[in-house]
C-alpha cells in the first residue's frame, strides 16, 4: 500500500443560494422558465494530493479556501463532483466535537450512540469506555444528560470519543483552537502519541506553528485550488509569505488611519509625532518581524518651536494586553538638549526576542519631567512577530539559553 489517501483531480461545486429558498414552488417555476435557479461556484477545483500511511499530512489555507470541504470528501460525508478519491481504512474525524450528541441523553448513552455512529461495535465501545471517561475527566457527570454540561465538558467528551475510535486515519479540523490551554495541550499530546503509533493523520489548521511541528508534508489550498504542495517547510513558507503580504496590507491601512484616532492619542502637540515606521535590518519597511531579528522603529517628529530636553518613550503591548516593555530616553540617558523643526528618532531592537503573535507599539514625546505630554500615541501601531529560528513556543519571550547536565547521564540525543 503506497498511499492511504489518494485524491485526483477533485472538483466540488456548490450552489450559492441567494436566499435559502427550498419551496417546491420555486423549483417548479424555475423549471418552467428553464433557468438556473442559483449561481454555482467551485469550492474545489483540480485538487490532487496523496497521503502515505503513517504520515502526518497538513492542509493549510485561509477561511473559505476549501479545506473543510476537502476533509468532508476524505471522510466520505460528501462525494466529489469530479475526480476520484480513494481512502483505505477507517477514518475518524474531529470535524466538530460531539456532532452526534443528543442533549437529552446522558454522557454514557451518548458515548455508545456516538461511538456506534463513528463505526465502533458495542463491545469495542465497552472496552474503551473507561478510557474515554478517564480522558474526558467527566467521571462524576457521565450519567447526567449532557444538556447540563458546559461547552468545555461537551468538547472534552467529543474529543475523547473521537480519539478513542482507534481509526487508521485521524482527520483533525481546527478543533484545537477552542478549549482551555490545559485540554488543548492534552489533545496535542494525544495526537503526538497517535503519530508515534504510526497512524496517519490529516491535520487542518490556521496555526502554522503547530502544522509545521506535526506535519511532514502539506498542501496549501487557495480559493479551492492547490497553491503549493510538498514538504511542510516549503508549503508553510509559501503560505506564510502570502499571509504576511495580506497582513502587511491590513496593518499598513490601520497605520494610515492613526491621524483620526482621538481616543488613543493625546498631548498638547507642541511636538507632533508625524509618522512611525517599522524597518527591518535592511531599512526596508515591514510589519512582520521574525523572532530574533532586528527591528527598527523610526519615529518622525515635527516641533512648532524649539523644545528643551524632550523625552522620547516607546512601549510594546501584546494583543492580549500584556505589557511587554516601556523604555524611554530618560532611563537610558539619551536626551537631546533641544530639538527644532523636524527630525526622527530611531528606536532599534538588536534582537527582537518576542515569540510569534500580534503586538502594538506606542510612541510618545514628553517634557523632561514626563508630566506634560506633547504627543502620545497609545498602542496605535500594530506589528506581527512570526516564527524565526528559535523553537520555543510557550510564553512571551525567547531568552537565549543553554541546558547542561551534571552527575551521571548518557549521551545527549537530539
Amino acid at each position: 500500500m503506497k498511499y492511504i489517501v489518494e485524491c485526483e483531480n477533485i472538483g466540488m461545486q456548490f450552489k450559492r443560494y441567494r436566499e435559502k429558498n427550498r419551496m417546491l414552488r420555486w423549483t417548479i417555476l424555475n423549471q418552467l422558465r428553464k433557468r438556473q435557479p442559483n449561481e454555482t461556484f467551485w469550492a474545489l477545483k483540480n485538487v490532487g494530493f496523496t497521503v502515505r500511511p503513517g504520515e502526518t499530512f497538513g492542509i493549510v489555507g485561509e477561511n473559505g479556501s476549501g479545506k473543510s470541504t476537502m476533509l468532508k470528501l476524505i471522510t466520505g460525508i460528501m462525494k466529489p463532483d469530479t475526480g476520484t478519491i480513494k481512502v483505505l481504512g477507517r477514518v475518524s474525524a474531529l470535524l466538530e466535537l460531539g456532532a452526534g450528541f443528543h442533549p437529552d441523553l446522558t454522557g454514557t448513552e451518548n458515548i455508545y450512540l456516538n461511538g456506534s455512529i463513528m463505526g465502533l461495535t458495542r463491545s469495542e465501545i465497552r472496552s474503551k469506555f473507561s478510557e474515554i471517561v478517564r480522558f474526558s475527566e467527566l467521571h462524576d457527570f457521565i450519567d447526567t444528560p449532557i444538556k447540563h454540561y458546559s461547552s468545555g465538558m461537551y468538547m472534552r467528551l467529543g474529543f475523547s470519543i473521537a480519539i478513542n475510535v482507534d481509526p487508521d486515519i485521524l482527520v483533525i479540523d481546527e478543533v484545537l483552537a477552542v478549549g482551555d490551554q490545559g485540554f488543548q495541550s492534552k489533545c496535542l499530546d494525544r495526537i503526538r502519541d497517535f503519530k508515534r503509533l504510526g497512524k496517519t493523520i490529516i491535520f487542518v489548521s490556521h496555526d502554522l506553528g503547530v502544522t509545521s511541528q506535526l506535519c511532514s508534508r502539506a498542501v496549501w489550498l487557495d480559493g479551492g485550488e492547490v497553491a503549493a504542495r510538498g514538504s511542510t517547510q516549503r508549503v508553510v513558507d509559501h503560505y506564510r509569505k502570502r499571509v504576511q503580504e495580506t497582513v502587511e496590507v491590513r496593518l499598513e491601512e490601520e497605520h494610515r488611519t492613526v491621524e483620526a484616532d482621538v481616543e488613543n492619542r493625546w498631548g498638547n502637540r507642541e511636538v507632533e509625532i508625524t509618522r512611525v515606521e517599522f524597518l527591518d535590518d535592511d531599512n526596508h519597511s515591514t510589519h512582520a518581524f521574525k523572532t530574533g531579528s532586528m527591528m527598527q522603529v523610526k519615529i518622525h517628529w515635527a516641533a512648532k518651536n524649539r523644545v528643551e530636553k524632550p523625552v522620547f518613550g516607546v512601549g510594546i503591548h501584546r494583543n492580549d494586553g500584556v505589557h511587554v516593555n516601556g523604555p524611554n530616553t530618560k532611563f537610558t540617558g539619551s536626551i537631546p538638549s533641544y530639538i527644532e523643526g523636524h527630525g526622527a528618532v530611531v528606536y532599534r531592537i538588536e534582537q527582537l526576542n518576542l515569540l510569534p503573535g500580534t503586538y502594538y507599539f506606542s510612541a510618545a514625546i514628553y517634557d523632561y519631567d514626563i508630566t506634560v505630554p506633547f504627543d502620545h500615541h497609545e498602542q496605535l501601531y500594530a506589528f506581527m512577530v512570526i516564527p524565526g529560528d528559535c523553537e520555543e513556543e510557550y510564553g512571551t519571550f525567547y531568552m537565549p539559553s543553554q541546558w547542561s547536565y551534571e552527575g551521571s547521564y548518557g549521551p545527549i540525543i537530539e
Binding site: 460528501m78 474525524a93 452526534g100
Partner: protein, 273 residues
C-alpha cells in the same frame, strides 16, 4: 464503515447503529413526558373514541363487529403508516449537524424511524388484543396472517419513508404536502367504513355504471394492506392468495425503489442541508 466504498451487506456495526438509533428515538419520545409511552396509547384510543361516537352512534355505520374493534384493526396500522411517513420526512433534516459532520450510513435514519414506529405499533397491538378479549372475539388460525400483513405494510411504509426523508432535504414544503396527501389517503382507505363484500358498504351497493370505481379504488394498495389486518382479526376467512402475493410484490417494489432513490440522492444531503 467510514470508507468511501460502503459495503452493501450490513455489518455488525450497522445493525447496532440501527438498534441505537431506534432505541434513541423511543427513549427521547417517552423520556421527556410524564406519562411516557402511555401517550402512544392515549392518542389512538382518543381517536377511536371520537370516531366510534361519530360513526356508530351519530351516523350509524353498520358493521358486524363492535365498532371500536372494527375501527382499531385498521386504524392502528394506519397510524403506524402515517406517523412513519411524517417522522421519516424529518429524520434526515433534523440530523443536519450529524449529516454534515460525520459519515455514516444515512439510510439508517429513516429505517430507524420505521423501526421505532413498528415497535410502537406492536405495543398498540397488545391493546387491540385486550379489546378483542373484552368483546369476546375469538382468535382463529387466521392470526398467522399477521406476519404477512406486518411484513407487507412495513416494507411499503419503509419504501415511502425513504422517499419522504430524501425529498424533505430538497423541498421543505413536503410536510404540508404530506399532510394533505395523508388526509385524503386516510378517507380513501377503509378505516372508518367497511368494504368487505359480505357487508354493507358504499362499494357494494354501486350502480352498474359505477362498477369501474371499485377497481380503481382497489388500485390503492393501502386498501388491501389494511384489509389484511381485518382478515387477521375479524373476518376469519382467508384472503385470496393472489392478493397477498400482489400486495407483497407492490410492497417489495416500493421498498426497493425507495431505497434506490434514497441512495441515489443521499450523497447530496451534506451539501443541501
Amino acid at each position: 464503515m467510514q470508507s468511501v466504498t460502503r459495503r452493501f451487506i450490513p455489518d455488525r456495526n450497522t445493525w447496532e447503529l440501527l438498534g441505537n438509533f431506534t432505541a434513541r428515538n423511543l427513549k427521547l419520545k417517552y423520556q421527556a413526558s410524564v406519562l411516557g409511552f402511555l401517550w402512544s396509547l392515549i392518542t389512538p384510543l382518543m381517536q377511536m373514541l371520537i370516531y366510534t361516537v361519530v360513526f356508530s352512534v351519530i351516523i350509524r355505520v353498520k358493521v358486524d363487529w363492535p365498532f371500536a374493534v372494527f375501527l382499531l384493526t385498521a386504524q392502528l396500522p394506519w397510524i403506524f403508516f402515517s406517523s412513519s411517513l411524517m417522522m421519516g420526512a424529518s429524520s434526515i433534516i433534523e440530523h443536519g449537524n450529524l449529516i454534515k459532520k460525520v459519515s455514516f450510513n444515512r439510510s439508517l435514519l429513516p429505517i430507524a424511524t420505521v423501526c421505532s414506529n413498528l415497535i410502537n405499533f406492536g405495543i398498540t397491538l397488545v391493546v387491540l388484543a385486550g379489546f378483542l378479549a373484552c368483546y369476546k372475539i375469538p382468535v382463529s388460525s387466521h392470526i398467522i396472517l399477521l406476519i404477512p400483513a406486518l411484513v407487507i405494510l412495513a416494507l411499503f411504509t419503509l419504501g415511502l419513508t425513504f422517499i419522504t426523508a430524501a425529498l424533505a432535504v430538497f423541498f421543505r414544503d413536503i410536510f404540508h404536502i404530506l399532510e394533505v396527501i395523508l388526509l385524503v389517503w386516510f378517507w380513501s382507505v377503509p378505516v372508518v367504513y367497511p368494504i368487505h363484500p359480505d357487508h354493507l358498504s358504499l362499494l357494494n351497493g354501486l350502480p352498474e355504471k359505477w362498477e369501474w370505481f371499485r377497481s380503481v379504488y382497489r388500485l390503492n394498495p393501502m386498501v388491501d394492506m389494511l384489509e389484511m389486518f381485518r382478515y387477521t382479526f375479524l373476518y376469519h376467512e382467508w384472503p385470496p392468495p393472489t392478493m397477498i402475493l400482489s400486495l407483497f410484490l407492490v410492497a417489495l417494489l416500493t421498498a426497493v425503489a425507495g431505497f434506490w432513490i434514497f441512495r441515489k440522492v443521499s450523497p447530496n444531503f451534506a451539501r443541501e442541508i
